[in-house]
């Protein structure tokens, strides 16, 4: 087992890292996984247009290969993890091996959880500069393996879906090239060994997101949305850069013979070992939190995510629901040691991360109620669910957060692809003016959408229920009612989560009603999409039903013990690079209450849409989307709230109208002044001086001196030629005379000199 030697002022401490360089072939060679889509990207760029299917076959082939590789890696990891559960663990630990920083060390305590699950780390030197070695590598553990599976599966399904969805598009090949590049970058991100590699792939996925949001850049709105996403992400990326730098130099203070370490395992181990000062960790965690807020759409940097729906729907499903936006959540999970210590998550009842997550989840859910655009409903829902994950991490429910990430990827991708299927046939995203009554016309899409909605709302036994319930239990706020405290008593977060659960159920009911029930309000004759769209929908829908069973709660009486907490067992690291978190046990009472809350949410929305609006529609003879003379027209307060939501809390106004203007206008003024008064004047002066020098040069030097020389030499040669031509008489004998005369003179000279 590899240990880390850290030097404090007084002593040298060795910290178990919980990593190994040994492992199954698949665990050792995980670097192949991002490489294959990267090659496919290059292949599509160069040969895509010449291939019969425009390069999509290359992308799909690459994804099939990496999907299979990921599954093999997953099984290899489960095997690897189980080996360390058994008896032979002690031997394999004592035999030990040399680490980069470490030495042969006795395996120390592995924490209260028992055996460490050794992450398989392989690195190679990227470059060396100034005595610091920068490496790239792979860190394969349960988290990475889980992410590999999610990313490759969703990406593969999205590839297949896209062959139908963007068929005939002008930039079809370009689209698939970027999907490949995105897959490569995202896979690189999830197996990053160090924070620098994480940063690079983080930027790469941002770039792909930018390019794909702006896929139809001919429309100004789309390119604006792409720019907004890119620029908003830049704000957070600064945080990531600063945070990574802080952690690098902070680790350098403790490690002998080096400036610092980018290694994730080392950073986490140092953070967990309480050698790093708390203030450093807090600042680093806050900086990294900014990155999470922008990438994972946390309030108040979430505004780019709804606008990002301007991109093609498969992109929204892949990038803006299932994978890229969870990069922030993944980053927290990866550097959990830093966050756990930095925000003092254990034993507390409130912290910045939990607060941001809890607030985001509520804010996003509220906004989802006032959207007309089906994709924007889902986008705000994604923000809300990402808030759920961040909140879960904020309260220390690491496994629950990752499990929610896992299940959410399936059901949200299912919903997004379902909305794309609907939009594909009605040629619009507007639920109020162009949808309604699609239940009969698109039965496959309808069924999968319903499954995804129920999973999102969190009704048992669908996937969303299990993960959401674990998060609620993980808040530890249920302690008074028979559950146990986890890392603290985050009662406030529990309340936030409960309210959001009800809201989620209600807005999804609204969305389903507006899309699939009532009378069709659009034009044309919508019909079911083809198999390349419905098959991915069904695969995701099946996962949305069953994925929840992977992590049945511990102590769940209806399932054998061997099936409980399988996900947590394999995914959650128990090692030196992971903080010692404590786990809350789920309680029946909480599960029942949360289910009731969800049912209440559905019932209220059902009562409004399926009963009242339906009745009003029948009476008025046209398909309505809301009650005439509803609450917002009767109550001033409700109207104000509605206006606030429609305007998205005025955040866009705040950013562009106030902050950007407040920053931009003085800068623009100053820049204008500087430009006019200083730069232009300087340039003018330089220009005028140049003109004067030029004129002087022209008149005095060029015209007189240079031209004089040239003219004189011309005249000279003309004159001399005139004279010399007389010698050339054309008569042989005169030439001979000159020859002899010259010979005579030379002979005379010879005699005189010699």
């Amino acid at each position: 087992m590899i240990q880390l030697l850290a030097a404090t002022t007084s002593s040298v401490t060795s910290i178990p890292l919980g990593i190994t360089h040994e492992g199954n072939w698949f665990l050792q060679n995980a670097w192949l996984i991002p490489l294959i889509p990267a090659l496919s990207f290059i292949g599509i760029l160069f040969f895509g247009k010449r291939l019969p299917r425009g390069g999509s076959e290359l992308g799909i082939a690459a994804l099939v290969i990496v999907f299979l590789l990921s599954i093999c890696t997953g099984f290899a990891w489960m095997d690897h993890r189980d080996n360390f559960d058994g008896e032979e663990i002690n031997q394999s630990l004592i035999s030990g091996e040399h680490g980069e920083h470490g030495e042969h060390g006795e395996h120390g305590e592995h924490g209260e959880h028992g055996e460490p699950s050794l992450a398989v780390v392989n690195t190679t030197t990227w470059f060396i500069t100034g005595g610091v070695e920068f490496s790239v590598g792979t860190l394969v553990d349960g988290l990475a393996v889980m992410m590999l599976f999610v990313v490759t599966l969703v990406s593969l399904l999205v590839h297949i879906y896209s062959t139908d969805y963007v068929a005939g598009d002008r930039r079809f090949t370009h689209f698939f090239a970027f999907l490949s590049l995105f897959s490569a970058s995202m896979l690189l991100l999830v197996i990053s060994e160090n924070t620098l590699q994480l940063l690079v792939s983080w930027e790469l996925v941002g770039l792909c997101s930018f390019a794909l949001i702006g896929h139809w850049w001919e429309e100004k709105d789309n390119s604006n949305a792409a720019l907004k996403a890119f620029l908003t992400n830049r704000v957070g990326d600064m945080g990531l850069l600063i945070g990574v730098t802080i952690l690098f130099f902070a680790s350098g203070k403790l490690l002998p013979d080096t400036f610092g370490s980018f290694s994730i395992a080392t950073t986490n181990a140092l953070a967990s070992s309480s050698l790093l000062p708390h203030s450093t960790l807090l600042i680093a965690a806050c900086c990294l939190m900014a990155a999470v807020m922008s990438k994972s759409g946390q309030f108040f940097l979430h505004t780019w995510l709804p606008d990002a729906m301007a991109g093609p729907t498969p992109v929204s499903a892949l990038i803006h629901a299932a994978t890229m936006v969870v990069a922030g959540v993944f980053m927290i999970a990866r550097l959990y040691g830093v966050f756990f210590e930095g925000f003092s998550i254990g034993g507390s009842s409130i912290n910045l991360m939990a607060l941001i997550g809890g607030f985001t989840t509520l804010v996003g859910a509220c906004l989802a109620f006032v959207q007309r655009d089906i994709k924007k409903v889902l986008a705000y829902s994604t923000i809300s669910q990402l808030g759920y994950m961040v909140m879960a991490l904020g309260v220390g429910a690491w496994t629950a957060a990752m499990f929610h990430l896992f299940t959410h990827a399936f059901f949200k991708a299912c919903l997004f692809l379902g909305s794309g299927s609907v939009a594909h046939s009605v040629h619009s995203f507007d639920m109020k003016s162009d949808m309604g009554g699609l239940r009969k016309k698109m039965p496959q899409t309808f069924r999968t959408f319903i499954i995804g909605s129920i999973a999102l709302a969190g009704l048992p036994p669908f996937a969303g229920f299990w993960s959401k319930d674990e998060i609620l239990a993980g808040t530890g706020g249920w302690g008074i009612m028979g559950g146990t405290n986890g890392n603290g008593s985050y009662t406030f977060m529990l309340v936030m989560g409960m309210i959001t659960a009800a809201l989620t159920a209600a807005y999804m009911t609204r969305c389903v009603y507006l899309t699939f029930f009532g009378e069709f309000r659009g034009h044309g004759n919508p019909h079911e999409s083809g198999p390349r769209i419905t098959i991915p929908l069904w695969i995701l829908a099946v996962l949305a039903i069953f994925a929840g069973f992977l992590n049945l709660p511990k102590g769940f009486q209806l399932a054998p013990e061997s099936l409980q907490e399988r996900f947590g067992h394999y995914v959650e690291p128990v090692a030196g690079y992971f903080p010692k978190i404590s786990h809350a046990t789920p309680s029946w009472s909480l599960a029942i209450i949360s289910t009731i809350v969800v049912i209440v949410g559905i019932s209220l929305a059902w009562n409004y849409y399926f009963v009242k609006v339906e009745k009003a529609s029948k009476e008025s003879g046209q398909s309505l989307t809301e009650l005439p003379g509803g609450l917002t027209t009767r109550l001033v307060l409700a109207r104000m709230g509605h206006t606030l939501l429609v305007n998205k809390y005025y955040l866009d106004h705040l950013y562009t109208g106030i902050i950007t203007r407040a920053v931009k206008e003085p800068i623009a003024e100053l820049a204008y002044r500087t430009n006019q008064e200083i730069l232009d004047r300087t340039v003018d002066t330089v220009g005028r001086t140049a003109v004067k020098i030029g004129q002087f040069n022209y008149h005095k030097i060029d015209q007189t001196v240079v031209d004089g020389f040239v003219n004189a030499s011309g005249r000279m040669s003309s004159y001399s030629g005139e004279e010399l031509r007389k010698i050339q008489s054309g008569k042989v004998q005169s030439y001979a005379a000159i020859l002899f005369a010259a010979a005579t003179i030379l002979a005379g000279l010879l005699i005189v000199i010699v």
């Binding site: 031509r725 054309g730 008569k731 004998q733 005379a737």
Partner: protein, 99 residues
Amino acid sequence: MLLNQFLILSAVLFSIGVYGVLTRRNGVMVLMSIELILNSVNINLVAFAAFREAIPGEVFALFVIAVAAAEVGVGLAMVLLLYRNRRNIDLAGIDSMKG
């Protein structure tokens, strides 16, 4: 051995040759004068070779004779062509290269 006589003969021949080259208008006469110049050189070479008892001078003279034969062959051919084109061989009339 008296070298002077040979040198004087050669100088006289050379001067006659030069005079002929510069003054005669007949092309054939100019060629003959050139032959005189060359032969004066030959006399010089042979005289010095005999005087210094060195073979190379005589060998060189033989070369000069051979080259002179070739030269006079080309020269006479040119004179013949001149005659064909102009019906005379007066060198004074050939000044089409006048600058």
